[in-house]
């Protein structure tokens, strides 16, 4: 009796042990631990307010525009594709907004005009995304070269339309897209929200939350999400089993293009000016973030939570560099080192799995 009870206990312990080990094997859990340790180190290193109650809401609003793009980019990567054109698309959308405002300001009702510029911005993203998707699926063009080309075309069009001017004559209310704080009213009713500064969170944080939720829902809870994984895992195999792989890819590119355009809209609203170089390095930032978060460049693997944490990490490194008073130039060194480590770790994990 006693012996068998012991045995059961042993088995329980073993099960708990493997459960813990499996948990620790998850990229999201590892990354979360790294983020916590990183935060503690930065605070110990002198930046006491790092991610504290004052910094955190600001940090979130800085991450938010990138977050809109990293989620669909991660989904595109999981589906075995990727998109370099996002920076060009975002800047094109910024410039088109500035151009439209400068032409139509005063001729239309303000609200109507705002709706119009948002629609124009998003349409630019939709068009470039559709071109990318159709080129890759119908014409079987290489995604790297295709999206490099459309990046340059979109960026060139942005610079061309801007014609050397960054326009500043925006409808005042357009600022609300990036600056409105929807919980402000709640903050008055519940003082702790005010103290925690949650009531100061601007709208883009909520756009990001919606995109994160939708991304998670689609990827893990819908057939389409499983089709994304299937397509990235083995495109031909998925197709042989009746998955419409071209549809998966096309929708992925369109979603990414529109998200990049939305990112541009948020920036245009935040800056209320429209230079064609508003965004820089967006593509590599979000691709690197997704990869650090466990998305495989070869497709079939990754998660929304991983991409979120990966992007947090990228922005935390930026913030920390500034708050610790390090020369900004080192930021890129650290970002590169983190990316290198993540990719090396993936390669190591894969080698180990293959030899098992």
């Amino acid at each position: 009796m006693a012996a068998s009870a012991d045995k059961v206990k042993d088995l329980d312990a073993a099960a708990a042990d493997t459960r813990l080990r499996r948990l620790l094997m998850q990229r999201e859990v590892q990354l979360l631990l790294v983020l916590v340790v990183f935060t503690l180190l930065v605070r110990a290193g002198g930046a006491k307010g790092f991610l504290g109650p004052t910094h955190f809401p600001i940090f979130l609003s800085q991450v938010a525009p990138d977050m809109l793009v990293v989620i669909p980019m991660a989904m595109l990567l999981i589906g075995g594709m990727f998109d370099l054109s996002v920076t060009g698309v975002a800047n094109l959308s910024v410039v088109l907004i500035g151009w439209t405002f400068s032409r139509l300001l005063g001729t239309l009702d303000d609200t109507l005009l705002i709706i119009l510029v948002v629609a124009i911005g998003l349409t630019a993203g939709l068009i470039v995304g559709a071109i990318n998707g159709l080129a890759v699926t119908r014409l079987r063009m290489n995604p790297l070269m295709t999206t490099l080309a459309t990046w340059w075309m979109a960026q060139g069009a942005a610079t061309g339309v801007a014609g050397g001017e960054s326009r500043h004559n925006f409808v005042g209310a357009f600022r609300d897209i990036a600056r409105h704080q929807p919980l402000q009213g709640l903050g008055e009713a519940f003082p702790f929200l005010q103290e925690m500064r949650i009531s100061t969170l601007p709208l883009p944080v909520f756009y990001a939350l919606i995109v994160i939720f939708l991304g998670w829902l689609v990827l893990t809870r819908t057939r389409f999400g499983w089709h994304i994984f299937a397509t990235g895992s083995d495109r031909q195999g998925a197709a042989l089993n009746g998955v419409n792989v071209n549809r998966v890819t096309l929708i992925g590119f369109i979603a990414t293009g529109m998200a990049a355009a939305m990112c541009g809209i948020v920036w245009a609203s935040r800056l209320t000016s429209a230079p064609p170089n508003t965004l820089g390095g967006l593509e590599l930032r979000v691709i690197a973030a997704a990869v650090i978060g466990g998305a495989a460049l070869t497709g079939g693997e990754g998660s929304v939570l991983g991409a979120v944490l990966g992007l947090f990490f990228m922005h935390m490194i930026r913030s920390a560099t500034i708050q610790l008073g390090l020369p900004v130039y080192w930021e890129f060194f650290v970002l590169g080192a983190v990316l290198f480590t993540a990719v090396a770790f993936d390669a190591w994990a894969k080698r180990r799995a293959d030899t098992q």
Partner: protein
Amino acid sequence: MDAAQAQLEREGVDASAPEPLLIARNISKSFGHVQALSDAYVAVRAGEIVALVGDNGAGKSTLIKVLSGAHRSDAGDIIVRGQRVTINNPNDSFDLGIATVYQDLALLPSRDVVANLYVGRELTSRGLLDRRKMTEEANRVVRQLRTNLPSVNTPVRFLSGGQRQAVAIARVVHFGAEILLLDEPTAALGVKESHEMLSLIENLKEQNKGIIVVSHNLAHVFRICDRITVLRHGQTVGTLIKEDTDSTEVVRLITGADLL
């Protein structure tokens, strides 16, 4: 009845035997300049195993893919349960009760057993995936096949060759297909795993499935099949009944040596 029946009689099959589940005749298919199939024929009845043999490049995989909807034939008839059908894509084939295990298995390496079993036909309830039901069903199917898999949540890339085969077969059996197309199911397996696979196929025959199996291994062919259809340069040169023939004759037909 018609030409198909006549063809079967020419093969020496009793015309009073049940109508074939599937007949493919005069199938042709070219890829650019390569004529992969020119006049291919194969037929299978319920509870029967037909081996499809031929040299490398004879067109075996292409014929399987025409039946599974991965390729569209240029010409020819496909008759399923006495009805002429057109198969334009994998879903058409699936809807006709045809299921295929490909030479390269077409499994998704980074996905777990559950996702592989259900790829393309995931279960949903109220628009969202029913993951619990799929996991339960997957466990049931795996138990039924008496294969030992670690867990249905293991990514397929961690499984052995035999286990992967079992997953590929489970996928097919699970959806209740009556016609099974197996392309080289033992090619990548060791001796022991091959024999397990052959037993599995014999099991499926007992469940009254009609099975077309491509194989290079004549020992395997003679162990399990009822009839042997020989393909050469994209053309069916004949169908032999196992009891009436031996491996030398099959090899002669495969290579065309008797023509010299």
